[in-house]
């Protein structure tokens, strides 16, 4: 699949950068001329992934989060959110609805479920002590 456009961004694992990442992805994807709803879905999914890297990956400590986005020829956007944080022991378990390792932070355990629901595909790669990569795609359907 050919690439129409690509960007890579790196930012610090600070909570204010969650809003920043959302705007960056929205501005980039706007090149595919989505609806407000499609954009809201993508922003919500990216928020969840970035929040996970901040809270679970780096556990509030300093680190860098990378986000890569590609606009493919068929109007699919492919988004990767990558951290070099603590990693996930059991990805299959982590992806289950309501599963959370931080109930004390009032986490809902619905982050991965939201990403899965709002995007067309979700892949999660993780290694303990190395970090986590989340890859999501969504096709923007022209009306």
């Amino acid at each position: 699949m050919g690439i129409k456009n690509e960007m890579k961004i790196e930012f610090m694992s600070k909570s204010q950068n969650e809003a920043f990442a959302r705007i960056v992805i929205a501005a980039f994807v706007s090149q595919l001329d989505p609806t407000i709803e499609e954009l809201a879905d993508i922003k919500t999914a990216v928020s969840e992934a970035v929040t996970n890297s901040i809270i679970h990956g780096y556990e509030g400590k300093n680190g860098y989060i990378k986000m890569i986005a590609r606009l493919l020829d068929d109007d699919t956007v492919e988004i990767e959110v990558i951290d070099e944080g603590k990693g996930i022991e059991d990805v299959a378990q982590a992806r289950k609805p309501l599963f959370t390792t931080k109930p004390e932070l009032e986490r809902s355990g619905m982050g991965f479920t939201i990403m899965e629901t709002f995007m067309d595909s979700l892949d999660v790669y993780s290694e303990l002590g190395k970090g986590t990569k989340v890859v999501m795609t969504k096709r923007i359907r022209r009306s």
Binding site: I23, P34, I36, L39, A40, T117
Partner: protein, 77 residues
């Protein structure tokens, strides 16, 4: 002239956060108008055209307000 100058000065010191919210509300109004007119969700470029702003400006502004969150409902309710 003093009046105009004061207006300009006041206007220039408006925080971005406020102007973004103004644009966002206009964008949502434009969206409603377009839905009424065309019977479907408008694309971001159609809204941007109504407001005579670049698409990117519109999506930036939209982030400044609570967006319609109907999509959350099936999950949280």
């Amino acid at each position: 002239i003093g009046e105009i100058r004061r207006y300009l000065r006041d206007n220039n010191s408006i925080r971005v956060s406020r102007s973004l919210r103004d644009i966002a509300y206009k964008a949502l109004q434009a969206r409603d108008r377009l839905i009424a007119k065309n019977g479907r969700e408008p694309n971001i470029s159609e809204i941007a055209k109504e407001l005579e702003l670049p698409r990117e400006e519109v999506v930036f502004a939209l982030d400044a307000i609570q967006e319609p969150v109907s999509l959350f409902e099936p999950i949280y309710h």
